[in-house]
């Protein structure tokens, strides 16, 4: 009783005396991020500027932010520290699936200018409770170091978005924290913290036009990603090709116990799971003997993450139910690939392209991953004059199949050196056209 009363009093007392030391330290660790990035969309290389937020994680200059703030397209990243000093930074690595990116300050510059760095500490997002007070710190609309307050509205929010991070997939492997702390454009990448200043999430998105429906990547997810990016600059995940669906209401139909099984909605053609004979309508009961429970949508990301966390090339034993029969099948995982391939611009043709990835080829029912997708055309340039359109897939140039971006880059370089008519084979709506790009 007494303890409880003390606890109740201690909150407001601390509040009255100002924010905690931890909170003030955290404020000094929050930075503004100005990014200039290349945009290939228009058939030419253009630059766009954007503003986001981030938080320093270490004394050696690591900054955590969102993947949609700083991506490999970034050509210049400038950090504004709490002291208002500006320092350059480089991308260490990014992971669009969790919408996280890691930057490193130009430490030589920091040392030369004797700048002092303060860094934040992660808290335990697993222990958050609904209703707990949290603060979002960031740069909404460029208003540096803005603090807003709210509560945890939901600590296990599910949403997946196939093109949520600048056209890249996100959300399949984690759930999100939802908060009513005001989140506006520019808050992205800033920390969501508890009263003691511990980072429990990285704010990433909000419903525009709604009232305070904001979302953050939980710190427990971020810790793993940060460690992976520091180590290798990239996050490697395993893929077997299952598209899950919550069982919700299907248990009786499939004669399942209430706490076991995940419905396989679809199996990607040509994937390890497809080769193992799995098909939509099967029920996945266990992975390597570990029972799984995919009854609700919120339970799907952890299952997906469990598969993704396996080493690439690992052999998984899937226990699968089809009709009344239960059987074990073995699949070997492959590396997970985004449907968005590498992008490039071929200036002399006024053409920007994106490599067709295996995933893109599968989703669009292409025979294989040969070719580049046209993502931009500059009016009046040879690609435009010849009749190329956004969405076309160029499969061959001068009879050479486009197995990689290098092939088209080489053809473009040859054209620049000695402009001559060039033959493109183009796939549009399953129809093959031959067109000539003329100087």
């Amino acid at each position: 009783m007494i303890l409880l009363a003390l606890a109740l009093f201690s909150g407001p007392a601390a509040w009255a005396a100002g924010m905690s030391r931890g909170f003030n330290q955290l404020l000094d660790a929050v930075v503004r991020i100005d990014v200039r990035e290349a945009d290939f969309d228009g058939g030419s290389r253009r630059f766009e500027a954007s503003i986001g937020s981030g938080v320093l994680l270490s004394s050696d200059g690591l900054i955590l932010t969102n993947a949609h703030v700083a991506s490999p397209r970034a050509v210049e990243i400038t950090i504004t520290l709490a002291s208002l000093e500006r320092v350059g930074a480089k991308l260490v690595g990014w992971d669009h699936w969790t919408d996280l990116a890691l930057l490193r300050l130009d430490m030589a510059d920091v040392r030369r200018r004797h700048l002092k760095l303060t860094h934040g500490e992660f808290g335990d997002s697993e222990k958050l409770y609904t209703g707990e007070t949290v603060y979002a710190v960031g740069t909404p609309f460029g208003l540096t170091r803005t603090v807003t307050r709210g509560i945890i509205s939901n600590s296990d929010r599910y949403f997946e978005d196939d093109n949520g991070v600048d056209g890249y997939e996100t959300g399949a492997f984690n759930t999100w924290l939802q908060t009513d702390a005001a989140i506006n454009p520019g808050n992205s990448g800033g920390p969501l913290v508890t009263e003691d200043g511990r980072i429990v999430g990285i704010t990433s998105r909000a419903y525009l036009g709604a009232n305070n429906l904001g979302f953050a990547i939980p710190a427990d997810v971020a810790k793993v990603i940060v460690a992976g990016l520091v180590q290798s600059g990239t996050i490697t995940r395993s893929y077997i090709g299952l598209v899950p669906k919550a069982l919700q209401d299907f248990e009786a139909f499939f004669s399942l116990a209430l706490d076991n099984g995940m419905l396989i909605d679809s199996v990607d053609p040509g994937s390890p799971a497809a080769r193992a004979g799995l098909a939509g309508g099967d029920i996945l009961l266990a992975i390597n003997g570990r029972k799984i429970d995919g009854r609700f949508p919120e339970r799907l990301p952890p299952i997906q993450n469990m598969i993704a966390s396996q080493p690439v090339g690992a052999n998984l034993i899937l226990t699968v139910k089809r009709g009344a029969a239960v059987s074990d099948v073995s699949v070997v995982t492959e590396p997970l690939e985004s449907s968005v391939g590498e992008e490039w611009v071929l200036d002399a043709w006024g053409l920007s392209v994106r490599k067709v990835s295996r995933t893109f080829a599968r989703v669009n029912q292409l025979p294989d991953d040969t070719g580049v997708l046209v993502i931009g055309i500059q009016p009046g340039f040879p690609a435009d004059t010849a009749g190329l359109e956004t969405g076309d897939i160029v499969t061959k140039i001068d009879e050479k199949p486009l197995a990689s971006l290098e092939v088209i880059k080489a053809a473009h370089a040859a054209y620049v050196a000695r402009p001559a008519p060039t033959l493109f084979e183009v796939l549009r709506d399953r129809r093959i056209s031959l067109i000539i790009l003329k100087p």
């Binding site: 299907f250 939509g280 309508g281 989703v363 033959l423 084979e425 129809r431 093959i432 056209s433």
Partner: protein, 468 residues
């Protein structure tokens, strides 16, 4: 006639032409009154699960048996003939109508054939009565041509006259006349001064206009299509030789089939690049599985450059070359041999394809509507396998043709074109299997739900259909 020049003679010459005009005015109405009897309006219904839509088209009478041809666009060729109902034949200017029977579409000309009932036939005159003996005259540039137009239904399709002059004759790929103004209703005949049949009006071409408005002061390009009158017409010799192509059945079978899919024109720049000179060509996007083209050894991306030893003609615009190839196939019959030359890389490869009979078309597929569930299942046919990139031998299941809004099927998220592979976990083989399964589900009043496995764009989805 050479006219004297000078102001003084101007009045005289005007007078002279006025006189000529009067003479013309005397005979054209008589010719017109006679020839109006070969024009009719045809009304029909397209009846689907959810609606009944009425369409009006113009047609021309081609024989004394009351046979009428309608232009290709008069009826959507994707609609199953079973859904075309209640053909009515209107004699222009007469409020009373007669019934007609739909005979089917001819693949080569694209015409739809309808036959009028006995009682009205005496009032109709075939257009062949006005055709020249032997070859039909080709109207010269600027020659006067005239035709028949019909007012709308509420004016009892009152006939009227349209007069124009020839502006251009072009191969598109058939010889097509273009008049300086609208010359006839689409599907209605065009005559010369002497009243000789010289052409059949096509659907009018799209006219490019600029649209200026408050919102868009710079103007926006729009295409305007006149659906009641047309200035384009097929020359008579592109019409008369083919009037005998009356379909033997409503599906227009047999249909000659090559199986070289997605033909795309090869343009002049490409021909230059490939050092083909003035050669025209059509690129084959895909050689279909099991087709005559495949059996003849044709490969994807071959370029067809000659048929029966004759190089493909050059068209302006060059896209008409694919129509030309299609017509060369459609004018033949299954079993006929088509000799082709294709360009493969730099090699010219001769091929001999024995044309087959087109596999069952989607419009011919069997279908069944399930009222309680709320959707129409359709037989899985050859085109479905091609569309979904599966081996024809693996064809199974049924395709969703229609989903009625607010029914159990719609609420479950079923969509048109979904491919149903399993019902209640049981793989569906044939259309009959699916009908048996779905009928038994519908008949079972105690049934509260069932589960469908559907394939959509290469992915699958498990759908739960709640019946109560």
């Amino acid at each position: 006639m050479k006219l004297p020049s000078g102001r003084y003679f101007l009045a005289l010459s005007a007078l002279f032409f006025l006189g000529g005009g009067l003479a013309r005015a005397a005979d054209i109405p008589a010719l017109w009154a006679e020839r109006v009897k070969c024009a009719v309006a045809v009304e029909y219904f397209t009846e689907s699960e959810s609606e009944r839509r009425t369409t009006v088209a113009y047609g021309v009478v081609i024989d004394r048996a009351g046979t009428i041809i309608l232009p290709p666009g008069a009826i959507d060729s994707h609609v199953p003939p079973g859904q075309l109902k209640e053909f009515k034949i209107f004699v222009p200017g007469d409020p009373v109508n007669a019934t007609g029977v739909y005979l089917g579409q001819d693949a080569f000309t694209g015409w739809h054939f309808v036959r009028a009932e006995e009682k009205v036939r005496a009032r109709l005159v075939p257009v062949t009565d006005f055709a020249a003996a032997g070859r039909s005259p080709v109207p010269a540039l600027d020659e006067e041509v005239w035709g028949i137009g019909l007012r709308p239904l509420e004016e009892d399709f009152m006939p009227y006259i349209l007069t124009s002059h020839v502006a251009l004759i072009q191969a598109l790929p058939q010889l097509t006349g273009e008049a300086q103004q609208e010359v006839a209703g689409p599907g209605l005949p065009v005559f010369n001064r002497a009243g000789v049949f010289v052409g059949l009006a096509l659907n009018s071409g799209a006219q490019p206009y600029m649209l200026y408005s408050q919102m868009n002061r710079g103007g926006a390009p729009v295409l305007v299509v006149d659906v009641t009158e047309s200035s384009l017409f097929d020359l008579a010799d592109e019409v008369l030789p083919y009037l005998g192509r009356i379909p033997k059945n409503v599906d227009g079978r047999p249909l000659a089939w090559l199986g070289a899919d997605g033909l795309e024109p090869m343009d002049r720049d490409v021909a230059d690049f490939l050092k083909l000179g003035d050669q025209s060509g059509a690129v084959v996007s895909e050689v279909l599985e099991g087709s005559p083209a495949e059996k003849a050894g044709m490969k994807d991306h071959d370029i067809i450059i000659a048929i029966d030893g004759r190089p493909l003609p050059v068209f302006r615009p060059n896209r008409y070359v694919t129509d030309f190839v299609d017509r060369e196939i459609e004018r033949r019959r299954p079993g006929d041999v088509l000799a082709l030359t294709v360009l493969r890389g730099t090699d010219r490869v001769p091929l001999r394809a024995t044309l087959g009979d087109e596999p069952t078309l989607i419009r011919e597929a069997r279908r069944r509507y399930f009222e309680r569930i709320g959707f129409t299942a359709r037989e899985f046919v050859y085109g479905d396998a091609i569309e979904r990139r599966i081996k024809v031998g693996q064809s199974a299941g049924v395709v969703v043709h229609y989903v009625k809004p607010n029914t159990p099927a719609a609420i479950a998220g079923l969509e048109p074109d979904d491919w149903i592979k399993e019902i209640d976990g049981v793989a569906i083989g044939t259309f009959a299997d699916a009908v048996a399964e779905l009928s038994s589900i519908e008949a079972d009043q105690l049934r509260t739900e069932f589960v469908l496995l559907v394939s959509r764009g290469g992915d699958t989805a498990v759908l739960r259909v709640k019946l109560k």
